[in-house]
């Protein structure tokens, strides 16, 4: 087995540069690579293209990179709940490509799976289809969408082993396995890092071949964006 464990967050994100494309797993604040994001927000890198379903909130998640104007372009499906994001977008400082959520997921999956493009019905007849090739399959129009890849993918899992195998918990899984596949260098943060042999091979969600570096995250706040309870 290849040992992919890194001990410090600095080592985990080593090699990041201005102008790169990063993918960030997570849905809202659920399942985000908190430690990597925090560390990236301390570096003097900018002009980043970030692929992430959402853009965090003002003071957490990708909101930290937005606040420091490190992001040039966001590729996302839903970007509510972030005032700084909205301000930068409406003023034209930030370039934003909004794409359907399923298309975003599949573009990442395709990027990691060696599929350069695919046809989907989502977005046909809308703004999303402008400039894209259209083709009819089974009497239904589809549009051609390109795969996405990243220089770095930052993902978060529940458990992992030193070979980079990952197990996610709950809906914190979301985009993480897909973005792990699409990163040239995928950095996985885990809550629990175990030696090889401790994870049941049948239960692993992301095979370690997709992960280049794995680190036990120091502290996970795991903030809840929309706490909803019943009495």
């Amino acid at each position: 087995m290849i040992n992919k464990e890194v001990k410090t967050i600095k080592e985990a994100i080593k090699g990041v540069e201005s102008g790169m494309t990063f993918m960030f797993g997570g849905f809202g604040l659920c399942g985000i690579a908190e430690n990597s994001i925090l560390e990236l927000s301390k570096l003097n890198i900018n002009n980043l293209t970030c692929v992430s379903n959402n853009a965090g909130i003002d003071d957490f998640g990708l909101g930290l990179l937005l606040k420091r104007r490190q992001i040039k372009k966001m590729i996302s499906s839903y970007v509510g709940e972030n005032e700084e994001f909205e301000r930068q977008m409406l003023s034209g400082e930030l370039e934003v490509e909004l794409i359907p959520q399923g298309t975003l997921a599949e573009r990442c999956r395709a990027g990691g799976a060696g599929i350069p493009a695919f046809y989907t019905p989502a977005g046909h007849g809308t703004e999303v289809a402008i400039g894209k090739e259209e083709r009819i399959f089974n009497n239904k129009p589809h549009i051609l969408e390109n795969a996405l890849v990243a220089d770095f993918s930052f993902v978060k899992a529940w458990k992992g082993d030193t070979a980079g195998n990952l197990i996610f918990k709950g809906t914190a899984r979301n985009f993480n396995p897909l973005m792990a596949m699409a990163g040239k260098i995928t950095v996985a943060e885990v809550e629990e890092l175990v030696p090889i042999g401790e994870l049941d091979p049948n239960q692993i969600h992301t095979p370690g071949i997709f992960v280049q570096r794995i680190i036990k995250g120091n502290n996970f706040e795991k903030r809840i964006e929309n706490l909803t309870t019943i009495n």
């Binding site: 809202g28 379903n53 359907p100 959520q101 399923g102 298309t103 529940w158 709950g170 809906t171 899984r173």
Partner: protein, 218 residues
């Protein structure tokens, strides 16, 4: 009297078919889960990656790793399953989710829906709505009949950027239940105490009215 949000949700709940997979959007659609008829078994899918979504947790039992697509804390039912976003949209695009209920800012009489963008004002994004409306075989819209300015949201043609074309099958508003047919909007039911004339006056598009229009039974 016009229905409130819960009234709309209650009426939509009557549309749920036994043993089906259903995706509920954010807002009024989420409330539908509170009114499932006793003899009907439905399994709720949330596109962030869960099938078998349960009610909101009791206070103190919330789990930051278990949320719905509205980012609200949830619980899971027995037999629930968790998956990644690609599998989730495989269920949706592949036509395996049988009913989608979602909100809208506008619906046109040919079934186009607009619900993701007000140019220059609000640009939050489409989330999973474009994938959902492109593929679900049955799409029900839950919305108020008119917007805050009192303008009809049921139009001959959408004015806002659209989310999907020719896809909405039924609309339940605070005033009426409307079928989207090849010929346009067909008025099926009116809210308790609301007259057909009131509905016509609140609707920009033409309404097809066949005979007596029954009152909703809630």
């Amino acid at each position: 009297m016009a229905l409130d949000k819960n009234g709309i949700a209650k009426r939509i709940a009557q549309e749920l078919q036994n043993n089906t997979y259903v995706n509920l959007g954010i807002g009024i659609p989420t409330l539908v889960a509170n009114y499932i008829p006793k003899d009907v078994n439905v399994i709720f899918q949330s596109e962030n990656g869960i099938l078998g979504m349960g009610p909101f947790p009791k206070k103190g039992q919330e789990d930051p790793d278990l949320i719905n697509a509205g980012k609200q804390t949830i619980t899971s039912e027995l037999g629930a399953v968790i998956f990644d976003s690609a599998i989730s949209f495989a269920m949706i695009r592949g036509g395996h989710v049988q009913l989608t209920v979602l909100g809208a800012m506008e619906v046109s009489q040919n079934g186009d829906i607009a619900n993701w963008k007000i140019p220059g004002k609000m640009v939050k994004g489409m989330g999973g709505a474009m994938d959902l409306v492109a593929s679900s075989e049955n799409i029900i819209v839950a919305m108020t009949h008119t917007n805050r300015k009192g303008m009809s949201k049921l139009l001959k043609k959408c004015t806002l950027p659209i989310t999907g074309i020719n896809c909405v099958k039924k609309i339940v508003t605070d005033l009426a239940v409307i079928n989207v047919t090849k010929k346009g909007f067909e008025l099926l039911e009116r809210a308790p105490g609301v007259t057909v004339d009131e509905i016509i006056n609140s609707t920009d598009a033409e309404l097809i009215i066949n005979g007596e229009i029954a009152e909703m039974s809630l």
